[in-house]
Structure formats: structure tokens, C-alpha cells
Amino acid sequence: VSASPTPPGANALLLAIGRIEALRAAPGNAPALVELLPPDSPIYAGLGRGEAERLRGYAMAGLEGAQLPAHALASLFEELETGLNPYLVAAAAKAVRGAATPPGDAAALLLRAIQRIRRTDEIVAFDRFDAFVHDPAHGPPVTALMELMRTLAWLGAQARGSIEAMKAMKAAGGFSPAVAAELDAAVEAVSAAAPLPCCAKTPAWPAVPLPQADLGAIELQDQDGAVASFAEAFYGRPTVLAFFYTRCMNPEKCPLTVAKLGRLQRRLAAEALEDEVNLAAITYDPAFDLPWRLRRYGTLLGLNFDARTRLWRTTGPFEPLRSGLDLGVGYGPATVNQHRIELFVLDEAGRVAEAILRRLWDEEEVLAALRRLAREAVGP
């Protein structure tokens, strides 16, 4: 493996690499590595996106063979569902193999990830952080797609529900011979795995407590420059509140979030509920996302701005909002370096009633949450 081009003076990065290497080297450190899975972990602060993602992937890959706690799977599944960086997605697939029992939901996410990164596949190695260039002395190269297919094979019977999709993928081809061989092996392993006992299920992830900070005084500014406090903007009726930033490069994340808010707006209008609910998204990147950018972005993605539907930025520090809602966002020198998918349903007093975190959501799901909220408000 060649030496890395890590710039001299990049102390934060070097210290972070050293810390992760120490954790990976010592047995029993899985809980400490799991603490590094959230994108807002302080270890990634100040790094560029590429550095932060590679570092997180390096930490993730150290979980292969560990006894992975159930709650760690949510972060891994988020990468498989929406990640674009082949190194990080491959690391997530590798780490899934650290689960005590193969999780049933993983196969569909792995297939989705294969389709998403197949045009950007790259050779990956996780033995060293700086293993950017393959060393033939370390054996044949392994690509990100090969890691995903190895995890499909490892899932065995838990991937049975996806076997037809795997066979169709194999028939369609378009893979290199090495990747195709891994796909063949996965199809064979899944086909040959003993059927699961009746009703075997992946254990549910532990529920996360909902944040309940008082955010009412935080000052916001909308896409037209109008200023309001969080309380003025959202209290008095239920609110669907998402987070995004206009420079997000992942079409599965922020652009999709805002586009789906637009679809939700049309659904609410069709049910004559558009005046009953606030639809809002607040940018993670308020210094860059000035009102005109918010307006242009929302308009391009199908939002019809009105009194109840707005994009917002904080005019002061973002930190009170980040800590108040326990947001999963980290920052590099100029902008966001990593973030989760985050959507909250607030009641009319601005309290978090439901949260959808780390996974894609759809309009029906949010409508159902709003209906639950309405039923609770009416009472038994």
C-alpha cells in the first residue's frame, strides 16, 4: 500500500486517524467505534467532506467481526440506502457483517447501493487509512461492489427475498469479471442457505428519545427575507420540519427532501388541509443559504411558497437548533461535511411529536403522523 498524500500540518486529521487506528487495534473497542458512526461526531469537525467520509468509513470497517449493537445498524443502513461514496458504502457493508445475526432488511438496501455506486466503483482497502493505491503484495484487488456482494452472500437465508433481483442483476451483466464472480458466489450462497425458521425477524431498533428543547426564541429568516422567531413561525398548528442545505451533492438527500415537501404540499392541498399545517425546511448552512438561494432552490424543486410553506435559515448561530434537536450534522472548513436525513413532526406547541431519522421517508408516512397528531389533540 502506497504512502498517503496527507498534507503536512493536517493535525486534526492525523490525530483522528491515530485514534481510530488505536481503537481498531484493540479488541473489545466496538462500542467506542460505534460512537464514531454519527456524522456529527466531534472527530470529523473541521475536515473536508472527502476526509470526513473516508475517516468514518475507516472507523466503520473496524466493526467487521465485532459484536455490533443493534442501534448501530441504523447508521450503516443509512449509508447503504443513500450513500454515494463507494469507500464509505463498502465500509458500511463490511460493518453489517459484524451484526450478531444477519439483519433481514439489509439485502434490499445492498441491492439499492449496488445500483447507485456501480458507475463509480473503485478499489478499496481498509487495512490502512491511506490505502489509496492497491499493492499487489496484498492479494487481488477488492472493489466496493465486491464488498457489497460479499455481504449479500453473508446474509444467506436473510437475502432469500431478494434472490430474484440478484439473479436479474446477474443476467443483466455489466460488471467486471471479478465483480461478476462475487455476484455469482452471492447468488449461490443465498440459494443454498437453509431456510429461516418460521417467523424469524430482525429485532427492532431501540427507540430514540425525542428531543424536547425550547427553541421558541431562535430567530429565523425565510426565502423572502421575512424574519420570525421559531415560535412565531411554527407554534399554533402542527409543523412538518425537515433539514437540508442547497449545496448538498447527494440527490437522495437534500434535493429529494425538499422535492418531497413539495409533493406533501400538493397532497395536503388535495385534502384541503394546506392551511392546517406548516411545511418547513431549515438549512444547515445559513451563512451560504441566503434568502434568494432558498427561494431559487425551493422553486426549482417544486415548492409553492406561501404563508404556511417556507424555507428558512437561522440569522444567528445554528448551534442552539443543532443541539436542541440533536441534529446529525457535522461541518468542515467551508460547509457541511456530513449529515443525516432528518424530519420532525411538531405539535402545535412546537414539541417534537415524531421524528424520522437516518432513512428515506415518504409523504404517506408523514401524513399518517399528522393524522395521529390530530387524533391525539382531539383526545379519546
Binding site: P177, L290, P333
Partner: protein, 229 residues
């Protein structure tokens, strides 16, 4: 009307020709015993093939790996071309080489103005702090101008860009680059600086023209920027 079987056969032949041609070009590019000119020619052919992303995907991982190897090749042209292509993929290895070169110019694979231009392709990179230090410290105006362009994605650079844009002692290329970046970053800060320049008949015509054009192109609802932080 053509026979669908014939069409399938034609497609299969075309596919095989694409594949064998791509493999041959990859082999030539990776063959360090060949003259650099031949390898650069092979790289040009591979880059053309990569436009057909669907067909090229079985070769993508190998190509990226070969580019990373070539990025440290002793031949300067080959090395610079490989880094250029990798930078367009936001490749972390290439960004590391470019940052390293900016910090240690004697070991740089490409000149600093090229490194800054390539790093500016990725607005999420960690190049902001070094670009800020180059904008204040480099003696070469072309390099300072590229640093100013890179900072168009860094909201933390508003004050620095404003200072460079309004400094009459600064080189014209740096002032214009700073103005363009500030216009992108924060219209209100640009507007305040630009109005003063436009009104100052003693300032240079180039920067006054840039300021006037920038003011005309500001978005309609250019509000914000008067934040409490």
C-alpha cells in the same frame, strides 16, 4: 425493417469492440515501459470511452486505480493529467496531493494556481484555510486570484474577500476575482463594497466595470447577510 436478432448481434459486436478497445487502452496507459506520449494518448482514448458511463462501468475501478498510480508518475505531463481527471471526480487521493503541493511547493506536482483551480472543483474540500492564507501571503497575483476564486464557496471568507476587493493597492486580477467570489457568496457585502467603488472616480476602470456589472446581476431579493454572527 431490420431484424431484431441482427440488431442484437450488432449491439453485441459493438459492445465487444468497446470492451476490447477499452482494455487495450487501459493496458497501454498502465504500461510504464511505454513512452509517456503513448500513455497520454491511451489516457485520452480512455477518457473518451468513459463518457459512455454505462458501458464503461466494468472498467471504472481499474481506471481510477490507474489514475491514482499515474498521479505520482515521474513524467510531469502524465502526472498533471491524471491529477486533473481525478480532481474532477472529487478524488480524495488527488486532493491530498494538491494540498500537500500547496504546503510544500518544491514537491508539488502542479503549479499552485492549477492546484487551487482543481481544488475549487469540490466546494466541500478542506482547501479553504490554505486558500485564505495564500490570498493574504502569496507574492504571485495569479496565484492569489485563484485563491480568491476558490473562496467563493467559503462563507468564512467574506471579510477577507471584501478587503481584497476594495484594496486599491491590490493587483487588478485579485480584486476582480475577489469581487466575483464575494458576489457569489454574499450579495449584500458585495453590494456595499461595489457601490463605493463605482462611486469612486479615482478607482481603476476594470474594477469599477466589474462592480457595476455585479450590481446589475444581483438577485432580486438579495437580502440577508446582515446576520447577528
Amino acid at each position: 425493417m431490420s431484424n431484431p436478432d441482427d440488431e442484437d448481434a450488432d449491439e453485441a459486436i459493438e459492445e465487444a469492440a468497446f470492451d476490447s478497445g477499452t482494455v487495450a487502452a487501459l493496458n497501454a496507459f498502465g504500461d510504464t515501459s511505454r513512452p509517456p506520449a503513448d500513455r497520454l494518448d491511451a489516457l485520452r482514448r480512455i477518457s473518451l470511452a468513459a463518457f459512455d458511463a454505462g458501458r464503461f462501468q466494468p472498467h471504472q475501478a481499474t481506471f481510477m486505480q490507474m489514475l491514482r498510480t499515474a498521479a505520482t508518475d515521474p513524467d510531469a505531463a502524465l502526472c498533471a493529467t491524471a491529477i486533473d481527471i481525478l480532481a474532477r471526480y472529487h478524488d480524495q487521493f488527488a486532493q491530498g496531493l494538491l494540498l500537500q503541493g500547496l504546503q510544500n511547493p518544491s514537491a508539488a506536482a502542479v503549479p499552485p494556481e492549477i492546484a487551487l483551480r482543481l481544488l475549487s472543483i469540490d466546494g466541500h474540500s478542506s482547501a479553504g484555510p490554505i486558500a485564505q492564507s495564500i490570498l493574504t501571503g502569496s507574492g504571485n497575483p495569479q496565484v492569489r486570484a485563484q485563491a480568491a476564486y476558490l473562496l467563493s464557496s467559503d462563507p468564512g471568507a467574506v471579510a477577507l474577500l471584501t478587503a481584497r476587493m476594495t484594496d486599491k493597492a491590490e493587483h487588478s486580477a485579485v480584486r476582480q476575482a475577489s469581487a466575483i467570489s464575494l458576489h457569489t457568496l454574499n450579495g449584500m457585502a458585495f453590494s456595499l463594497a461595489a457601490r463605493n467603488i463605482v462611486d469612486d472616480a479615482s478607482d481603476y476602470p476594470e474594477i469599477r466595470a466589474t462592480s457595476r456589472t455585479g450590481l446589475a446581476l444581483l438577485p432580486d431579493n438579495n437580502v440577508g447577510g446582515g446576520d447577528t454572527v
